[in-house]
Every structure is written in structure tokens, then in C-alpha cells.
Point group: C2
Chain length 178, copies 2
């Protein structure tokens, strides 16, 4: 596809970037949906990490870096870019709240902080893969998952019973959001 032909579909470079972001957001939403319903959260998370940071071409990560830089210059691109970021973070925050409500995790830190730490892990693997041709995220991912597991402090589901275990912790149960 020639440079000029792009402008048939997108009015500008910004619109193109917005489109790509939207596509990425949609793809993330899809993957996140499977994560949210997975019986074993950590295993599903590892699978997502494997996809984004090991299987997927490093060029994609590099492209996201380019968008990030562009976002620091262009306010409109910043809005788009940080919008996707916020979308992902909100999704994880909501999920963590739900898992806590269901008694499946008992995080060692408050959930907003947990999400921020989560960011650090994700961002770190992302950046490393983007710029280091020799990066081997596969080697660190199990450790990262282990660390996240430690923070989430997951509770084993009662193995004998079929029904989902109910929260019996002394901390107040959270209301459903909104």
C-alpha cells in the first residue's frame, strides 16, 4: 500500500494512529475477556504475557514506543494513547476488585497500587522487548508471574465443593461498581 493510498481510509496520521490504537484496544478487550473468565487467573495471565511479550513480533512493541513518544509531543495523540492505557488499567482494577470480592485473591497491597505495580511489570517487559534485540522475556515471565502471584495472594478454591467459595474475610466486601 502506497503512502498516498492510506489517506483514502484515514484523514491524517493522527487518525491512522487512533485507528491502530482502537484495534489494539479491541484486541486487548478480547484477550482480557478470556482472562476475566479463566478459572486460573495466573495461568491465563501468563498466557497473555507469553503472547504479547514473546510470540508477538518485537516490531509491534517498537511501534507502540513510537506512539508513546508521539504522544509526548502531540496532545491529541496523547489523549488517544493514554486512553487505551487507562482502559487497560481500569479493566484490571475492576477485575482485581471482583476477584477480591469473590475471595479468590487477598492482595497484599491496596488495589490501585497493585494496578500500578502491574503496570511496571507490563511496561518493563514491553520496553525491554521493544529495544533489546537479545531480550528473552520467556526467561523472566515465570518469575514475574510468580511475583504477581505473591502480591495477589490467591486463595485456593475449595477442591471438594463444586460451588464457588464465598468470601469469609473480615475486610468489608466491596459493592459492585456503579
Amino acid at each position: 500500500m502506497s503512502p498516498g493510498a492510506l489517506y483514502v481510509y484515514f484523514d491524517s496520521k493522527e487518525a491512522l494512529i487512533a485507528g491502530l490504537c482502537e484495534r489494539d484496544r479491541a484486541e486487548f478487550a478480547e484477550r482480557f475477556a478470556t482472562l476475566a473468565t479463566a478459572p486460573d487467573f495466573l495461568k491465563a495471565l501468563a498466557a497473555i504475557g507469553e503472547h504479547y511479550f514473546v510470540n508477538e513480533a518485537a516490531e509491534k512493541q517498537r511501534f507502540v514506543v513510537e506512539m508513546g513518544i508521539e504522544a509526548t509531543r502531540n496532545p491529541r495523540i496523547s489523549e488517544i494513547f493514554m486512553g487505551v492505557d487507562k482502559y487497560c488499567n481500569d479493566a484490571f482494577e475492576a477485575l482485581f476488585h471482583r476477584l477480591e470480592d469473590e475471595g479468590r485473591i487477598a492482595p497484599l497491597v491496596d488495589i490501585p497500587t497493585l494496578v500500578k505495580v502491574f503496570n511496571v511489570f507490563g511496561d518493563g517487559m514491553f520496553w525491554r522487548r521493544a529495544i533489546d534485540p537479545d531480550a528473552d522475556i520467556g526467561a523472566v515471565l515465570p518469575v514475574v508471574i510468580e511475583l504477581i502471584g505473591g502480591l495477589l495472594n490467591p486463595k485456593k478454591a475449595a477442591p471438594a465443593r463444586r460451588s464457588r467459595p464465598r468470601s469469609k474475610t473480615k475486610t468489608a466486601t466491596r459493592e459492585a461498581r456503579q
Copy 2:
């Protein structure tokens, strides 16, 4: 300083970048030296993290991102950029080996992997600070330090004795490097 005036001091943009990298490397070496001799490794590490990811202007991190992107395009800049990266990693790897030899830490994972995980933490805080204007690394740094502490599995120095404790683990003691 006008654009043209820069070329009095640097032959090219690459040379300028190389100079900035060298300055950063030297600054890191200085900070690392204090880290290497600090009695409390984790506390010293937290101080360095505080400096780089909280106190220092986010523009500096953004600039490093620019260099990283440039490195993916320009092989000569890549050499410079990844050279600094390797320098830092080698420094940490050597330090971890020494701390292990001295019996001050007993890492839960092998040291090369430990360094890679270390990278993830550093990269993550770095990238987040670079692109997110609302980033609050100060909120996550204590958790990150805690997690690193867990991985390093530090051993308390014997409080009564004045002499440094010697390694008594059954793992083979490492030779001094070169």
C-alpha cells in the same frame, strides 16, 4: 545554544548522543559505587530508584526513550545505547555475585535471570515515568523494592560480631571475576 553551535563540540548528532550516553554512564557508575559499598543494599537501591524515577525530571526519561527509538533505526546509536545498558547490567550482575559470595544474599533464582527481572522493574518504572504525566512512581517503588528484596533473599548480618560473615552455604563459591 543554537543548533549550529553544537557542532563545535560534537561532530554529529550521533557523537552528541554518544557523549550524553557517556555522561549518563559515568553518573550511573558513580551512583552504583555508593550502592556497591552500602551496608544496606535494599535501602541504597531504593534511594537510587527514588532519584531516577521520582526526583529526576521526566524529560530525561523521555529523552532516553528517544535514544532507544533512534537505536532501533541507527546501528551505531544502537551500539552506544545498548553498550550503556550492558554496562549497567554487568555491574549489577557482578554485584549480585559478590553479595552472594559474601553470604549477604541467597537469590531465589539464578543471577542472570535475576538481572533480567531487575531490568523489567527498572524498565517499567522508567517507561511509565517517561510517558505518563500522572505517573506516581513513589507509590510503587516501596512495593518494587520489597519484591526485589524477596527475590534476593537477603541474610541478616550477624549483629554481635564485627567481622563480615563468611559464606557457609553448600553452593560452590564463585571465583573473583578476572
